[in-house]
Symmetry: C2
Subunit: 257 residues, 2 copies
Amino acid sequence: MLKVVKIGGNIVDNPEKLERFLADFASLEGPKILVHGGGKVATTISRALGVEARMIDGRRVTDEQTLRIVTMVYAGVINKSIVAALQSHGCNAVGLSGADGRFVLSRRRSPVPVDYGFVGDPTGVNVELARALFDRGATIVVAPITFDPTDGSLLNTNADTVASAIAVAMSASGPTELVYCFEKRGVLGDVEDEDSVIQCIDKVLYESLKASGAIFEGMLPKLDNAFRAIDLGVSSVVICSAENIASQGYGGTRITL
Amino acid sequence: MLKVVKIGGNIVDNPEKLERFLADFASLEGPKILVHGGGKVATTISRALGVEARMIDGRRVTDEQTLRIVTMVYAGVINKSIVAALQSHGCNAVGLSGADGRFVLSRRRSPVPVDYGFVGDPTGVNVELARALFDRGATIVVAPITFDPTDGSLLNTNADTVASAIAVAMSASGPTELVYCFEKRGVLGDVEDEDSVIQCIDKVLYESLKASGAIFEGMLPKLDNAFRAIDLGVSSVVICSAENIASQGYGGTRITL
């Protein structure tokens, strides 16, 4: 089964955790795609270059300078460092942005009601390119910078959404699983208790956990992406710790219909 | 015939020239590889980040921080901007660093007598990966960051040398031409006279031009790479203006045995 694995910025920012994760990821059998988030490097560099982060409702606006910086950091140093590390572990990685071979096309988000700038949502994935690379034994490493063919611009895109879009598209040509790896062991029933991992969430439970306030903020878009993937044909969706990527079943939280 | 085209930093730094070049390059028929240089962005960013450029005998030393910056700039924003622009012109570009699919392997230059840091010279090119991408109608865009498999590090590599190494490797599986594009119309017999383009240089003429001092500095390594390519089986090597990439025969200076 094809694995689409996403690692968050907190892992990317921690060299030891990242190295351990990549060694484990490299050891996974079969075709696989790794989608990585951004981490804090882009913010550090923006500050050093005097580019002020502009936020609307707590969300960053991607102006032209910020787009250049995230393209540098995500598709440049993070993507290529991960590719080099995987190559060192004997995993034949090829790094792609969404523009490369039109791997992930997107559409710029409507500026109404809020203009977040150069930010887009995926509209298509080049499944044939992925299959051709898998046929050569390659593993794909995806930076969350996508390509809007309507005006030729690169767009900053949420990495969870990119991973979900890739998993959904790939599932049309064969069974696919989607694994969201982050710094916690799974979706927690009690955010204060690391041991309160919920083993399985269906939509009914999700609605009740949202209603009770047990799940909130950053977890909501991740779970929305997870449910969207399972709704659209992805065989298995798991949210787990990056430390468990090589363990049977990943531990963590399984999403079910 | 496969074309391997290299554009220098002066073109990369000039948005209008770069855009015109990319439109012309996109229109070229048949399989093609574009290798791009770095330009001044890396220097600007290094300064902003407070990373002092350390020079030995006029050559930059690539320390660890500088390596991260050139990886960001070359493999990130420059490579992906070029890929996006080519995609807009209907050219199905895929950007690669040397680490991606081990496309360009290298070896760190000996620290004796001078330690230039994370700098390497090409040792191998993944011809099969290029052929597989060409079979899918893709054009390859190469950032001059290579991969040393002995210790897994990324290495900063001269873009002229990368282009020459790729052309030589590809020529083993079919006729290949190498085109060095820069801001002048070719190799000038008189550096003060833009019209003094030498149409054809063989080794005898090259030695006499060096001896007379007509050719010097930056032109020497470019010509050394050009002669190395033609010596090692590349069918045709031309040094010309980026403005002439779409014109018959490219104008410029042809290198002959």
